[in-house]
Symmetry: C2
Subunit: 729 residues, 2 copies
């Protein structure tokens, strides 16, 4: 309803009009709703503060658009949230470690400490976030209730929908875990209003802290929830900017969401450049370069703030890379090692295919297995607790955990894997005790590091897939990154071992750097799982190591090639499809009939229309039955020749006039009939219609055949069409 | 004409059909034109080789699409060309240095050696490339001749065009220098066929070597010409792939051009990631993410090859960064230095505005000054020689050159500027002679380094602007990058000097790293001049220094903010506008009436159309007068109601039938009338029409109003419209 009083062409040439508009706001700011309440008390102080605020706004606005302050604020706030989260998580992890060490000597108590602490945390996180913020559930219900009430579905379709919308179908466990699939659906133009309310933010925030504090037992990350938090903050800031600017254009909201998604990723990694690029790759299929600068600006503000926080909190003296490595720069690797890096890339691609297959199978299983569905619907907390208890028992350091370096936190794990010194040679020289630290956990059991690494990889695979079913807010990028690092490390250690036989001199052996393989493996596996290339850059940014840029990129490319072959869906695509989100790019990969689906198949019911000579009664009826802002006008109801459209707002103004005046008038005498812009044809495919809708912004598009009106297409209808298609999979 | 026998809908769902098509090719390859000539001699050996090639093709094709081999080949070839170029340039530069040193003692001979060598090289480059490959001139003539013959211009418009198309208007000097404006115009969908012929490649290649061998006197780079070379090679490889695949889709050509542009930049910098991103930022306003993987793949192949070449040629032991720096990693900078980096960013933004203003003024001057135009038209070689002679005299080491470190090549200049040790402190301790190398040229005159740097900046500004007028193939990115590094260095040295007073202990002073400021300055200035952010990443990749990522990004962002304020055109936009290229994004910045320009203003002449009941005579006439592949069909010539379109190929088949058969038939009986896809309206703006044309690929779009046909829109027409708009500036 906000765009009621907007001129029909205003959206089209928005960019050029910005300057003019801003000038208008400058002169009309005294009419702003914020500052026009003369009946309130304390006239004098309020007037002074008003004056002050107005001059501040003028001053800020004279330097650059107010939205830029919004972007900066977004970056800073996300950095602050991320820092706060890291701080709390560190404290909680330390408390756990302290307790565990204190109980040294009593294995049973240690076992309970090791298992119950994360189990309770996750159970709390699960119950908490789902009792306070059950919006993901609501969301699904909402989608289906909309589908039931609004869509022009025929009865057989209804029967198809109903079982899905039954209570059994509320799979909140799986729907709340990730943020990225929902956010990218929104960025593709589909509105999901409940998803962005700020009230849920704190529930999600606290839930995430609990999950992260469960540590490497559950080994979950924070990308998805942080992106969700970021879009919530972004939507709020965007509203604030609009309020301050007294600005009715809502183009800013979309842009702010794009920026927020990028900042969410960037603040999570502490890597501004690759964060933005990762977000671009995951979120969109076409990226508008005018978003580039806002995204990088906001991410840079965030990165700066987060590193300054680190400095001020005393963790580091200056702004440095997150995982500092000490790779030798003189001779990072031999040219022929490139082939081994390529081999690692292919290996990671194969492992990613295996992981994605298990993940898809698990998603399918949780959807179809009745016991599972019931458990996840009614006893989320209990389920989370049980699963985490199982995972924690497996990783208990006195049992299998000793072969998995389970005492390490995620960060320590990554740091140990990226170490540049070969473990195998250290193991041989362990008696010399020169550099025993990085080895301590990986060979604490006394078994060779190869076995430890292989066991780690074997166990973590099913643990990761199982952890994906947890109904808690968590991200899955970082665990995959660590898994890839372990895979790369194993490969690298193998290479170092083989080379140690080949080269007789010690010098040869030392120059093989297994840390480089770990880096390449991390980038390649996480890239293959998400079908992106930016993890290659992320690996470089996280470690501050440029020397391995080319091999890391090569490994990521090859892993991607393998993972993308055969149109397999990526991790996020699989989640989108499982959640039945109306997201076209992920539908493309699974709906075989999509390319041949035309618009005509979905234009069932005739839309409300007016004829040129319509009287006031017909107009009244049209306004009552239609909620569209643009109502099409045809020559006559018989000929159906489309003439253009009238604005609902103009009709409302006309209807407000006295009856005597309106009675005799016809539509074409009282309203201007605006010419239509682009016309679609029913023979257009859904993909084409989606693309044109994206290109032209949120207009109403008319569908006509041979000049005759056939239907309307808006984002609401596009959403319905996509949902219908998603249901067929 | 290639798409004559294509079904009308085949372009739309191209992606999904690829697999099917490839299967078809597999089975139909024996019909391929390459392998079907049974009348030729040596049947047996040819059959064996054929068999061999076919099995090779099958084998290659079974792993991935043949275009991927094309991408890899493109990367490798560009790396090879780049390496060959660098090698030749190094030899030529060494020869010059050797001669100069040999003449030590005789200043006059040294002067002639210093000035005549580059002057001759540039004169040769200029004459050579313009006599052998004068396509850029041709191109302009072609554009205008097209405009004269084809466009529906009214007489006043013609009088506007004619003086421009007169011989005086051939400004080859300015049109051949850059490659990026033309390439991005092509990527925006406009065809420029003469620009990509492979025959001109060698002329351009040799010309570029000559220009680069002129050294730091002229201080020109190689980005633009390498991009041009790369697109030439790409276009050739794309044709080759199409031939081998026996594949009529030409979607591959467009993709190959995008990849080629990216690889050109990447191979020039030896930086795969930032090269691709720079190309994305400069070339497009919307980037399709499906190009991401091919671009990075090709660039990675190129980067790998070029570094392997370096290793094999003995220059380096392994694959390393191009300009290796030795920044201290323990404490790269103090947190509060961020503010100084921000200040540097603003400074660079201001300098970039100044440079771009001078550049635009110079472009205008060379276009309007009669003497200049005459000189550039007739005596290109002489002009180049004279300008370079002037530049070289200024930089002669025994005159002003001693204050400008003019003995350094571009690479040495950059390396010296990025050095992490403050020069000022070294100057004080010069007697100790511990690290005298990096200082040698900058303080060879004995004057303080601040003065040298300031003098360098002052002189280089006008020298750069003057060098831009040279009619030689050359790039302007690297000179700006070096200039920015010098600016940053001056700032950094100043900071180090001030800090040396502030901190009493020596430790404080040492930790200020002016090299970091030089890096930030280089990225910020080159980013501001080109309106891009990727130079920030380029700076990191070129030096292998991640520690300064955040300050470099911040400086680049601020410089960009200043440079972009007030809708100023970037360096490449200014070139596009000056060359009157039909490139919409650069038109946006200079044509104030563009957003309000509707399509209706350009649809002058009625297009060829057929009525539903047209007889064979009318069809014959339509086929003769129109060259479009899709001919619109209307209900009748009176009503003009658009029904759809018929394919020209179907009409031709119909007309080939015997006369007696065709005489009685009407159009709707003999041809299928295909329904139209998206319909435009004359009220659509040109910008909207351009966007929809880009989104839908190269189709013919019909323009209709109230169901009645008004006109056609193809890329050819869009090109004319944009050229008409460009002329008005």
């Amino acid at each position: 309803m906000e765009s009621l009083d907007e001129a029909p062409g205003s959206e089209r040439d928005g960019e050029s009009n910005n300057q003019e508009r801003e000038d208008q706001y400058e002169t009309s700011h005294y009419k702003s709703p914020l500052f026009s309440d003369p009946w309130k008390p304390y006239q004098r102080p309020r007037a002074i503060i008003k004056e002050w605020l107005l001059s501040l706004r003028c001053c800020l606005g004279s330097m650059c658009g107010l939205e830029w302050y919004g972007y900066a604020a977004l970056g800073v706030m996300m950095a602050f949230l991320s820092f706060l989260m890291d701080l709390s998580v560190t404290k909680l992890l330390r408390a756990h470690q302290w307790l565990y060490v204190k109980l040294e000597g009593n294995s049973l108590l240690q076992f309970f400490c090791w298992t119950l602490y994360p189990a309770c945390l996750c159970a709390v996180a699960s119950s908490f976030s789902h009792n306070i913020c059950p919006f993901s559930t609501e969301n699904i219900v909402l989608l289906f209730s909309q589908a039931l009430t609004l869509s022009p579905l025929s009865p057989p379709c209804l029967s198809l929908v109903l079982p899905l919308a039954s209570p059994d179908f509320h799979r909140p466990g799986l729907t709340s875990a990730q943020g990225i699939p929902e956010v990218r659906t929104m960025l593709a133009g589909i509105e999901m209003p409940h998803y962005l309310s700020l009230t849920n933010m704190f529930a999600k925030f606290l839930g995430l802290i609990c999950v992260l504090a469960a540590g490497s037992t559950v080994s979950l990350g924070k990308v998805g929830p942080l992106v969700h938090l970021s879009t919530m903050v972004g939507a709020y800031l965007s509203k604030l900017c609009t309020l301050i600017q007294d600005n009715k254009k809502d183009k800013g909201a979309g842009e702010m969401l794009v920026v927020a998604a990028a900042v969410g990723v960037a603040s999570c990694f502490g890597a501004p450049i690759s964060g933005v690029l990762f977000s671009v790759e995951v979120m969109c299929s076409h990226f508008a370069l005018r978003h580039y600068v806002p995204c990088f600006f906001s991410a840079a503000c965030g990165a700066l703030t987060s590193r300054l926080f680190t400095v001020w909190s005393g963790d580091g003296e200056t702004l440095q890379a997150l995982f500092k490595t000490n790779f030798p720069t003189a001779l990072p690797f031999y040219p022929l090692e490139i082939l081994l890096f390529a081999l690692l890339g292919l290996l990671c691609g194969a492992v990613s295919c295996c992981y994605l297959f298990c993940h898809r199978w698990m998603l399918q299983f949780t959807k179809t297995n009745t016991a599972f569905v019931k458990m996840l619907t009614t006893e989320k907390g209990l389920y989370s607790g049980l699963v985490v208890f199982l995972l924690a028992s497996v990783t208990f350091p006195h049992s299998a955990g000793q072969f998995m370096a389970s005492k390490y936190t995620m960060n320590q794990l990554l740091t140990s894997l990226l170490d540049s010194r070969p473990w195998s040679s250290q193991h041989q020289n362990a008696s010399m005790q020169l550099q025993p630290e990085p080895l301590s956990e990986w060979s604490s059991s006394g078994s060779p590091v190869y076995l430890s690494l292989a066991f780690f990889l074997l166990m973590k695979m099913w643990m990761l897939v199982l952890a994906c079913t947890l109904p808690v807010p968590a991200g899955y990028f970082m665990p995959v990154f660590v898994y890839g690092a372990a895979l790369g490390r194993l490969h690298g250690e193998g290479v170092a071992y083989v080379f140690s036989f080949g080269g007789t001199s010690d010098q040869q052996q030392v120059s093989i750097n297994p840390g480089g393989y770990a880096l390449a493996g991390a980038a390649a596996l996480s890239g293959a799982v998400t079908h992106t290339l930016s993890p290659a850059l992320l690996a470089i940014e996280l470690t501050g190591q440029c020397s391995h840029a080319v091999p890391v990129l090569l490994a990521t490319l090859l892993a991607n090639a393998l993972a993308r072959s055969g149109q397999r869906p990526s991790f996020y695509d699989a989640l989108s499809i499982s959640k039945r989100l109306p997201h076209l790019p992920s539908l493309k990969k699974t709906c075989p009939r999509l390319p041949s689906t035309t618009l005509g198949q979905f234009l069932g019911v005739k839309s409300v229309q007016l004829q040129r000579a319509a009287g006031s009664a017909e107009i009244q009826h049209a306004v009552k039955t239609s909620s569209e802002t643009q109502i099409p006008v045809v020559e006559s109801h018989e000929s159906q020749i489309l003439l253009g459209f009238v604005l609902r707002s103009e009709l409302l103004i006309f209807l407000r006039r006295p009856k005597t005046e309106t009675l005799e008038k016809h539509l074409h005498e009282v309203c201007s009939i605006h010419p239509t812009s682009v016309l679609l044809s029913p023979h257009n495919t859904v993909q084409e219609a989606h693309r044109i809708l994206s290109v032209l912004g949120d207009q109403t598009l008319f569908v006509a055949e041979r000049g005759r009106l056939v239907g309307l297409l808006t984002w609401t209808q596009m959403k319905k069409i996509l949902e219908d298609l998603a249901k067929e999979i």
